[in-house]
């Protein structure tokens, strides 16, 4: 725990250093594509009295380089072939650097796989002097009982979601409140250590330093949910290539995240198997002719599927669009049913608003929103990422919602556990820092 705490703190420091240099790269390691954006920070924007700012407070950074490359060696959102992934990362980073004409050293990465698992934590402390101080916040966070999430897993996000003082709850910032008892709820997201280690190794091999790491379900929620959805309760379904991330937001905090290890690539592979075509052809057919609702018109729309066999009969094959939809639909339904099951487990139907936002590359299948409405509930919409300054037109589609979310995450990271001070009790007994800390708290 302390080890991770330290490494997350180190990443935060790295991020601060990158902010000072003004250039940071974000890297979305997905199953079907690897996207790299280079951000330039122009320093904090001047504060206005009403607390508003241009572009919803996102004007302090600008995308100066963007590159996408086909992902290699990634399966289910996890790195499978290290050397291949490293090459793909190199391609994306170099292209983005070339566009930005600046060298980047710090990178914030996200990935969708690695079995994310959510835990709700609760902690409670008695207040010594009847008023919540900064030290009390640190203490209550330290008092949260960490569940046994097993070996080989690591904490990715640990965000305080709610504070309660005595019987009053729903505080975002409890400092200064008067009471006797401070309670905190925290959302903990753990992932497989191996996946993080692999990603770390790849990034290190590219001479970059990791300045932060995030779950792609979380960041695509940041980018594609609008503010009131985040406030009132919504689920973001990020349908990627190899994994579908689910994150639930309420009161502007993520309270749950999971992923289904299925995505658009599985649809493609179904098509490839069903029609006996190469993977690349199947991908092309899916993107051009794909759909999930068959109509009478689709019976007559014949698709040349071809083949590279040299056999005339095989190379002249044609299928109707209905057949194609017949292959795609079961898989999409399966994914959505898995999502439904996860949402049920998470207790999504207890939220006041049950908005569902579909985003990610696979959400571009025509008719998906109607199918999702049948399975997930009526409040379904397709989400595109927020617009940020300087983002090329090609990178504004739903496939880039986690990249854009990472930009927002880089600009305004939410306070996590490791951003709070360590309470003095946690330091080793004879540590000098403990003494310093004690002096700080008591003067």
């Amino acid at each position: 725990m302390t080890d991770l705490y330290q490494s997350q703190r180190a990443m935060r420091n790295m991020r601060r250093a990158a902010m000072q240099r003004g250039v940071i790269a974000i890297l979305d390691v997905g199953t079907s594509k690897i996207a790299c954006l280079v951000l330039r920070f122009d320093g904090p924007e001047p504060d206005r009295e009403d607390g508003l700012g241009p572009l919803a407070g996102q004007s302090q950074f600008r995308v100066i380089g963007a590159a996408t490359t086909r992902s290699r060696g990634v399966r289910f959102g996890e790195i499978d072939a290290m050397a291949e992934t490293e090459r793909a990362v190199r391609t994306a980073v170099q292209a983005a650097q070339k566009m930005a004409q600046v060298r980047v050293d710090h990178v914030i990465a996200c990935f969708s796989g690695a079995h994310p698992r959510s835990y709700g934590l609760a902690g409670e402390v008695q207040l010594a002097d009847g008023q919540v101080s900064e030290n009390d916040v640190a203490r209550v966070l330290a008092a949260c009982d960490v569940p046994d999430y097993g070996t080989g897993r690591e904490v990715l996000h640990a965000q305080p979601v709610n504070f309660a003082v005595d019987h009053r709850t729903g505080f975002g910032d409890p400092r200064g409140h008067v009471g006797n008892r401070l309670a905190a709820d925290m959302h903990l997201l753990t992932i497989d250590t191996a996946a993080v280690q692999n990603l770390l190794y790849c990034i290190k091999r590219c001479d970059l330093e990791l300045a932060g790491i995030a779950s792609s379900a979380y960041v695509s929620g940041l980018a594609s949910l609008v503010e009131d959805e985040q406030e009132l309760g919504a689920a973001c379904i990020d349908m990627g290539g190899g994994a579908t991330g689910i994150s639930i937001f309420i009161k502007k905090h993520m309270i749950f995240a999971e992923s289904v290890r299925m995505g658009g690539d599985h649809v493609t592979s179904d098509i490839a198997k069903g029609l006996q075509v190469p993977f690349a052809t199947a991908e092309r057919i899916k993107t051009i002719h794909g759909g999930v609702h068959a109509t009478g018109m689709d019976d007559r729309e014949m698709i040349e599927i071809g083949g590279d066999s040299g056999d005339w009969e095989k190379d002249r094959r044609r299928v109707s669009r209905t057949e194609l939809i017949g292959i795609m639909r079961p898989r999409v339904e399966e994914i959505l049913e898995e999502v439904r099951a996860i949402l049920d487990v998470a207790g999504f139907d207890h939220l006041p608003s049950q908005q569902i936002v579909l985003t990610g590359g696979a959400s571009q299948i025509p008719g998906l929103d109607m199918l999702a409405a049948r399975i997930l509930g009526q409040n379904v919409r397709l989400g595109r990422p927020l617009r940020v300054q300087g983002l090329p037109q090609a990178a504004t589609g739903p496939a880039f919602s986690s990249s854009v979310g990472l930009c927002l995450f880089a600009a305004h990271p939410q306070d996590e556990w490791w951003d709070f001070a360590i309470p003095a009790e946690r330091y080793p007994a004879r540590s000098l820092r403990r003494a310093v800390r004690w002096f700080k708290d008591n003067w």
């Binding site: 090459r87 190199r90 391609t91 170099q94 650097q97 600046v102 060298r103 590219c206 001479d207």
Partner: protein, 297 residues
């Protein structure tokens, strides 16, 4: 046995940059490296090559002489040649002097005539008050001279006669007084510094002009008016013009200076004094004039 199709076609190239090229690319994007390669390195190579080339003394000499010859070629173009000098406003001897002072032989390139030095040299001539030099189109060196106007003659201690202008600046030496009978004469130590004062007095003494021989500065503080027949009018240090006017009035009323008076002493204005000449004194005393006696003893 081998696969019918290779996994990757022959023309396939990995789109990913190699590790080396990726690193070099990042190195090239480093600002310091970039600046060094684009500015520092070329500058260094240039400096090195120029330095190596100029290391040999013969090459340096060639370079310098080539430069000098090109410079001379340009300077000797007919457009820059000065063929004659024209002097305006100078009298004959001064003009001849200026001509003799020209440092170069005409025709010469205008680059080789240092107008400033030449102008300073001409201004050194006493007779020249101001000089204006320029090179006119057509290769003419135009010299506009303003000469000093002599206003007074100054007999120096060694007996030489110098012409001075109204400000007391020397104009020229005069060989004979008869050459300029129109100018008054002053003498005495320090007289050349008080020319303006002398000129004022001369202007005031105009009624005495036919008899006036000159003025002598006594003790560097006051003037003596010297008339013919060795008559002197001693003027005071202060109020000399008033004293002179008084003498002139006396002369007009009493015909003072026509009498045998050796000295009219006006130094004390409460008590103007006259010294009689030897003959008058003898007459006054009823004695015969002793011709052997020297006056004033």
């Amino acid at each position: 046995m081998r696969a019918l199709k290779t996994a990757r076609p022959d023309g396939w190239q990995d789109p990913a940059p190699s590790r080396l090229s990726y690193r070099l690319n990042r190195l090239w994007l480093t600002p310091l490296v970039r600046r060094f390669t684009r500015v520092g390195l070329p500058a260094m190579v240039l400096a090195l090559s120029v330095g190596l080339y100029l290391q040999d003394a013969g090459r340096r000499g060639d370079l310098v002489s080539g430069f000098v010859s090109i410079k001379r070629e340009i300077q000797d173009r007919p457009e820059f040649m000065v063929t004659l000098m024209r002097i305006d406003g100078a009298s004959g001897p001064v003009a001849a002097g200026i001509r003799a002072m020209l440092p170069v032989q005409l025709p010469a390139s205008s680059f080789r005539i240092d107008l400033e030095t030449f102008r300073a040299a001409i201004a050194q001539i006493d007779a020249v008050a101001a000089v204006d030099l320029r090179i006119r189109p057509g290769g003419v060196l135009q010299v506009d001279v303003t000469e000093r106007q002599p206003a007074i003659l100054w007999r120096t201690a060694s007996g030489r006669l110098e012409m001075l202008d109204a400000l007391g600046h020397r104009v020229a030496t005069l060989t004979a007084r008869e050459a300029r009978p129109d100018l008054p004469v002053i003498a005495g130590e320090g007289a050349e510094d008080r020319v303006q004062e002398a000129l004022t007095l001369f202007a005031a003494a105009r009624p005495l002009a036919p008899r006036l021989r000159g003025m002598v500065l006594i003790g560097e503080r006051r003037w003596d008016l010297v008339l013919d027949r060795d008559q002197r009018v001693m003027l005071p240090e202060a109020g000399a013009v008033a004293a002179l006017n008084r003498v002139i009035e006396l002369d007009r009323a009493e015909d003072l200076l026509a009498r045998d008076v050796a000295v009219v002493d006006m130094r004390n204005d409460y008590r103007p004094t006259i010294r009689l000449g030897a003959a008058a004194m003898a007459t006054l005393r009823g004695e015969a004039l002793d011709e052997t006696k020297v006056n004033g003893q």
